[in-house]
C-alpha cells in the first residue's frame, strides 16, 4: 500500500513539475509567437497582393480592417460593423448597428486609436461602453481593405471552412469587382501527399482570376490538369523566357472560366476548398454591398 502511494505521489509530482515548466515557457514565449503570427499574416497579405522582397509594397499602401459583430438585444439580433473613419483628419472608428435587412439602426462613434484596435480586448472594452447591457455582442469575423492612396486595391478576407479532416484556414484576396486575386492556405491538416497538396501552387492558383460570375457556379472536375496550365500555375518555377507575354495572356483567358481540376486522390479536399472559397466570396460580396450602401446613405467618412 505504501509503495502504491509513493508511486502515485511520485508520478503526480513529476507531472506537476512538467506542467509547470511547460506552462512557464508557454507564458514567456506566447507574446513573441503571437507577434510572429501577426507578421506572418502581414507577409501573406502583401504576398497575395503581388508584393515581395524584390518588389516591395509602396509606403502609401494601407490596410484598413473592418470587424463584424453580432449584437443581441433580447430575442432580436443585429449586425455591428466597426469601421475605421476619418474624423478631422484623424483616424478613428465608427460602429454601425444594422438590423438583419441591412437598415441602419444607430450610428455610434468610437474613440479608439488604430493601434489599439488590433487587440481584441481593447475593441471589446470600447464596445462595452457604447453597447450597454442587457445588449450582448460577439465577435464574428473581419475583413481587410487594402488602399493605395485613394484607390481601393483589394479586399483580403481571412476565413475558415471544414476540409476533409479538420478545418482549413485560408486568406482570400479579391479585387474591387470581386474577382479572385489570390488564395493562400494558412493552416491545414489534410493527408500529406494527398489532400495536403492543396497548398501547392498548381492547386491554389487555379482560383486566381476567376470572375465573380463564374465563382457562383464553380465546380470541381475530375480530369487531368493540362500540362501547359500546370506550368502556368506553378509561378515559383517560372524561368525567364518560358512564357511570352502573349502566351500568358492566352492561357489566362483560356482557363479563366474553367472549373477547378481536382487533386488526384483528394477529390473531397478539392471540393471542400472550392465550396469554402465559393461561400466566402458569396457571403462577403453580400455583406460588402450592404455595408457600402449604408456608408453611402449616411455619408460616413470612411477611411477607405
Amino acid at each position: 500500500m505504501r509503495e502504491i502511494l509513493r508511486i502515485t505521489i511520485g508520478l503526480t509530482v513529476s507531472c506537476l513539475i512538467a506542467a509547470l515548466v511547460m506552462g512557464a515557457v508557454f507564458t514567456i514565449t506566447d507574446k513573441a509567437k503571437k507577434h510572429n503570427e501577426y507578421m506572418n499574416v502581414q507577409q501573406t497579405m502583401l504576398g497575395l497582393l503581388g508584393y515581395s522582397k524584390s518588389h516591395p509594397a509602396p509606403s502609401e499602401l494601407k490596410f484598413e480592417t473592418i470587424y463584424r459583430y453580432i449584437v443581441a438585444e433580447g430575442q432580436t439580433r443585429y449586425l455591428g460593423y466597426l469601421v475605421p473613419v476619418k474624423k478631422n483628419g484623424k483616424e478613428n472608428y465608427a460602429f454601425l448597428l444594422l438590423d438583419l435587412e441591412g437598415k441602419l439602426k444607430k450610428l455610434y462613434s468610437v474613440d479608439m486609436r488604430p493601434e489599439a484596435a488590433i487587440e481584441a480586448s481593447e475593441r471589446e472594452k470600447a464596445l462595452h461602453e457604447i453597447l450597454k447591457p442587457p445588449r450582448k455582442f460577439n465577435y464574428a469575423d473581419s475583413f481587410i481593405i487594402a488602399v493605395l492612396g485613394r484607390q481601393r486595391v483589394a479586399y483580403l478576407i481571412p476565413g475558415e471552412f471544414p476540409g476533409f479532416k479538420t478545418f482549413v484556414r485560408v486568406m482570400l484576396a479579391l479585387d474591387p469587382s470581386f474577382t479572385i486575386k489570390g488564395l493562400e492556405i494558412m493552416e491545414q491538416e489534410e493527408d500529406p501527399g494527398l489532400g495536403g497538396e492543396i497548398v501547392q501552387e498548381y492547386f491554389k492558383n487555379q482560383f486566381v482570376d476567376k470572375p465573380f460570375k463564374k465563382i457562383a457556379s464553380l465546380k470541381v472536375i475530375k480530369k487531368p490538369l493540362p500540362s501547359e496550365y500546370r506550368k502556368y500555375l506553378e509561378r515559383k518555377k517560372w524561368k525567364k523566357g518560358m512564357f511570352t507575354r502573349e502566351q500568358i495572356e492566352e492561357i489566362r483567358k483560356k482557363y479563366r472560366s474553367a472549373d477547378i481540376y481536382a487533386l488526384t486522390g483528394a477529390t473531397i479536399s478539392s471540393r471542400a476548398v472550392t465550396n469554402g472559397v465559393k461561400n466566402m466570396v458569396k457571403k462577403f460580396a453580400y455583406r460588402e454591398k450592404m455595408l457600402e450602401r449604408v456608408i453611402a446613405e449616411e455619408n460616413i467618412q470612411a477611411a477607405f
Binding site: 509503495e3 508511486i7 511520485g10 508520478l11 513529476s14 512538467a18 511547460m22 506566447d30 510572429n36
Partner: protein
C-alpha cells in the same frame, strides 16, 4: 561500453562504437522514413541532439528522486517536456528554423534512442558524464542521418542540399522508404568491416 569515461571517449563512443543507427540499430523508423535528403537528416539530427542532451542532463540530475518502478514514465515525461519547450521556444524566437524543423521536433517524443540512453547511462552517471554521452549520441545520430541522407539524396534525386549535382536521377528507388533499409544495412556492413580490420591490426600490434 567504454571502459574509461573521458569526455572525448564518450563522444567518440556515441559517434562510432555505439552509433545509434549503425551499431545499436535503434530509432530505425525515423531514420529510414526521414533520411531522404541531407537537409532532412540534418534537421532531425539537430533536434534529437538538443533533446538528448537536455533530457540526459535532467535525468542525471534528478536520478536519486525517481522511484524505480516509474522510471520509464518519468523518462517519457522528461522527453515530452523538453520537446514541448524546444518546440515553443523555436516557434517564438526562430520562426524560420521552426518552419523547417517543426514537424521533426514533435516526432522525437517517441524516439527509442533517447529513452534507451536515459535508462542505460544517464540514470547511473553524473550530470557532466551524461552531458557528454548525450552529445555523443546526438552527434552519432546526426552523423548517421546525414550520411544516409547524402547517399539517398545523391542516388535517388541527383541533388545535394537541394542543388542539382548530377543533373539526372540515377536510381529513383533510393528516394523510397525501403531503400533506407538497404542504406542502413550497407552502412552497418562498412562499420562492421572497419571494426574487423581495426581489431585485426590491434591484435597484430599487440
Amino acid at each position: 561500453m567504454a571502459t574509461t569515461k573521458t569526455p572525448s571517449r564518450l563522444v567518440l563512443n556515441g559517434l562510432l562504437n555505439e552509433n545509434p543507427i549503425f551499431r545499436l540499430a535503434l530509432s530505425m523508423c525515423p531514420a529510414v522514413g526521414i533520411s531522404t535528403t541531407v537537409m532532412n537528416g540534418l534537421m532531425l539530427g539537430t533536434a534529437v541532439l538538443f533533446v538528448q542532451v537536455c533530457s540526459s542532463c535532467t535525468i542525471a540530475a534528478i536520478k536519486n528522486y525517481i522511484h524505480p518502478r516509474i522510471r520509464i514514465p518519468t523518462y517519457t515525461l522528461t522527453i515530452a517536456t523538453w520537446v514541448t519547450v524546444i518546440d515553443l521556444v523555436l516557434s517564438a524566437y526562430a520562426p524560420e528554423a521552426y518552419k523547417a524543423m517543426g514537424i521533426f521536433i514533435k516526432l522525437i517524443v517517441a524516439f527509442a534512442i533517447i529513452t534507451m540512453r536515459l535508462e542505460v547511462f544517464a540514470c547511473k552517471n553524473t550530470v557532466a558524464m551524461s552531458f557528454w554521452d548525450g552529445l555523443g549520441m546526438g552527434l552519432g545520430f546526426m552523423f548517421g542521418m546525414v550520411t544516409l541522407g547524402f547517399i539517398r539524396e545523391l542516388l535517388g534525386m541527383g541533388t545535394l542540399l537541394g542543388h542539382n549535382v548530377l543533373g539526372f536521377r540515377p536510381l529513383l528507388f533510393f528516394a523510397l522508404p525501403l531503400a533506407g533499409f538497404f542504406c542502413v544495412g550497407f552502412m552497418m556492413a562498412i562499420f562492421n568491416y572497419v571494426e574487423l580490420v581495426f581489431n585485426r591490426r590491434k591484435k597484430r600490434r599487440g
